[in-house]
């Protein structure tokens, strides 16, 4: 029975946090705030989904924030140079795929430890983005930022994009051979190799998926913000890891889920800040709370992992 309880732990924590905030401030439990919360959580959910994918294969991608920034910088430059929004929208996933491909090569072909490769590329991509924007904030034209408020069948566009992406990721994870092989690799890379899986190619593809997710999350945030500022996407990787782990994805690979898990994790992380903001908590406590949320996520993953050793 305890295994089921732990499986549902993320959802339970979500309800508890939501309940406490709605007690603290009546403004929290309103439908308007719920919509606002989901819109804010959409880009975090897409990032958390991509991060869960990478964690499933027992790898890590610390450069998601910088990938978002670089993609946004490229899109911004194209927008201002060629004034065509569709070109910018298409360019972002392409940039994501290229970044993901490079990360995949670094981890598989060059044999670097995932977190060293992606930590170094965190700074390289931040530098590249700054180079493109020459550290100047680029204000984007209205048609681009219009997407933030556009609605599809009544639902805000960001939420729709996030749901579509998460559904696709879940399909990839549960319904395709690629997804099943990732779970196998995440469990034990040596055994997966012995079972006949081409580990290098699969892990390379995982980083492609992570790159695309960063581009999509970048698009959503960019339309909301309306400007490519030099600090765009900074520290987003920490929230993504916390959301993925709070959602039940294990840090040592093999276990975890995209749709119920990562989504709940992202909403939980965003809810904490939304709630804090509403109760006018001292804004300088936010980074402190982010760190504590991440530590809590890591500790409960370690306990969950050791308690339910899957082997």
């Amino acid at each position: 029975m305890t295994r089921k309880l732990v499986a549902q732990l993320p959802f339970i924590v979500l309800l508890v946090v939501a309940f406490t905030f709605s007690l603290l401030t009546p403004k929290f439990a309103t439908t308007a705030n719920a919509a606002n919360l989901l819109t804010q959580a959409s880009s975090a959910a897409v990032l958390a989904g991509g991060m869960s994918f990478v964690l499933l294969a027992s790898c890590i991608d610390l450069s998601v924030g910088s990938q978002m920034f670089f993609a946004a910088a490229v899109a911004g430059k194209l927008l201002l140079a060629y004034e065509s929004v569709p070109l910018a929208i298409v360019a972002m996933p392409l940039v994501g795929v290229c970044c993901g491909a490079v990360h995949g090569l670094l981890v598989t072909w060059a044999g670097l430890a995932p977190f060293i490769a992606t930590m170094a590329s965190l700074f390289v991509l931040r530098g590249a983005g700054l180079w493109l924007t020459e550290t100047r904030a680029m204000n984007l034209p209205a048609e681009f930022t219009g997407y933030a408020d556009a609605t599809v069948a009544g639902f805000p566009l960001p939420i729709v994009i996030a749901c579509v992406t998460l559904l696709a990721l879940t399909y990839l994870h549960r319904r395709t051979a690629f997804g099943r092989q990732i779970v196998a690799i995440g469990h034990d890379r040596e055994e997966a190799y012995k079972a006949g899986i081409n580990c290098s190619r699969t892990i390379w593809q995982v980083y492609l998926v992570s790159g695309v997710c960063c581009a999509i999350a970048g698009f959503i945030s960019l339309t909301q913000l309306g400007t490519v500022s030099p600090s765009f996407g900074r520290d987003r990787e920490f929230n993504a890891i916390a959301a993925a782990v709070l959602g039940g994805t294990s840090l040592s690979g093999g276990t975890g889920s995209i749709l119920p898990g990562a989504a709940i994790g992202a909403i939980l992380v965003t809810m904490v800040f939304n709630g804090l903001n509403l109760i006018d908590a001292n804004p300088y406590t936010y980074p402190l709370i982010t760190g504590t949320v991440i530590l809590f996520a890591i500790l409960c993953d370690a306990v969950r992992h050791r308690h339910f050793a899957t082997r």
Binding site: A113, S121, F123, W131, T285, Y286, I289, T290, T292
Partner: protein
């Protein structure tokens, strides 16, 4: 991450199971291998030669002194990071520790808090308190890695956020600036033409050299770094060694914090994360293996000078900050690539 998540279990699965690259000063190598061990510093000497025609100003004594001056706090950080890398772990919490220690020490010295105990007024005791705080934070990291067997980079990553957040929360984002003038003059006095921080860094490098070569603790650091399970079976106190290694790194970060604070005459609650890039880059260029078991104090001194020289030369070439950022990131990728190649080569021997 520490190759053996906890001494009792088999080496943790998701790290590469092969033991690391060479130790160049631990064993006398044929000439070629020694050369390979020093790729880092060697190619920086090469870099120096080809950059010289582009910015001849680099060679003026003023610039050289600037390079050494800028390298001092970085050397302290790199020496701390080296001990943790030697153990196969990593410490990402550097910028958090620097922020918190500088804020707390400065607050003690400038009597910001009424409740602070009387002795904190005495600057030297506040500085000691800062160093002790850094060591304690490092020890907590070591405890989490060894006893709770959590991955080192995740523990230190979340502690970077927490410590940085705490610093910002304590001062509400404001910097503490009115440090007592006599203290600042003392901290910026020059001896034989070099700033006191440079002498502090050099003496710390000597201490590290002696520890790694001549002390029992150094031997145990190398043993645990190479093969924690064999060290545990041979009676090394692995848990204590891990905790002390991380504590050393914490204390170094605290010392660097004090040096930066003295230099800038302000304690700032935020510290850019790129300092981590320089610290790890300096250690890795200096021949420290990323998977543990290989390190040399002299190498780190060379690595730090290399990083500082590179940053200085790029600035002289009027390249912007983003070029420096990309250059440093690529240097780490290159050094990690060399390290991975060396490990793969020695692993191939293992399998034959």
């Amino acid at each position: 991450m520490v190759r053996t998540s906890s001494p009792l279990t088999a080496p943790s699965r998701h790290t590469s199971s092969h033991t690391p690259g060479q130790i160049e000063q631990r064993s006398e190598h044929p000439l070629l291998a020694a050369l390979r061990g020093r790729t880092g510093v060697f190619c920086i000497a090469l870099y120096l030669l080809c950059i010289y025609p582009f910015c001849p100003e680099l060679a003026s004594t003023g610039q050289v002194l600037a390079v050494v001056h800028n390298a001092a706090p970085l050397l302290v950080l790199a020496l701390g990071q080296t001990f943790v890398l030697l153990l196969g772990g990593i410490d990402l919490s550097v910028s958090g520790v620097i922020a918190l220690v500088s804020i707390i020490s400065a607050s003690f010295i400038t009597r910001q808090w009424a409740w602070a105990p009387a002795w904190t007024a005495e600057p030297s005791l506040s500085i000691a308190a800062g160093l002790l705080l850094g060591a304690v934070i490092g020890a907590v990291h070591g405890f989490a890695v060894s006893v709770l067997s959590l991955p080192a980079f995740l523990v230190t990553m979340s502690s970077m956020m927490i410590l940085g957040g705490a610093a910002v929360w304590i001062t509400h984002g404001e910097r503490i600036g009115d440090l007592p003038i006599p203290l600042l003059d003392a901290a910026q006095r020059h001896y034989f033409g070099l700033d006191i921080s440079v002498w502090i860094a050099i003496s710390l490098a000597l201490v590290a050299l002696i520890v790694l070569r001549r002390t029992l603790w150094g031997q145990w650091l190398f043993a645990v770094g190479q093969n924690a399970r064999a060290a545990y079976l041979a009676g090394c106190p692995v848990t204590w060694v891990l905790i002390s290694g991380f504590a050393w790194c914490g204390a170094c970060s605290a010392l660097a914090a004090l040096l930066y604070t003295a230099r800038m005459e302000t304690a700032s609650p935020t510290f850019p994360g790129e300092i981590l890039l320089d610290a790890i880059g300096a250690a890795v260029i200096g021949g420290t293996s990323l998977s543990g078991g290989a390190a040399s104090a002299l190498g780190v001194v060379g690595g730090t000078l290399a990083i500082s020289l590179m940053a200085q030369s790029l600035t002289l070439l009027n390249l912007a900050h983003w070029h420096v950022l990309m250059a440093k990131g690529s240097v780490i990728l290159l050094a990690a690539f060399f390290d991975a190649r060396r490990r793969a080569a020695s692993a191939a021997e293992l399998r034959s």
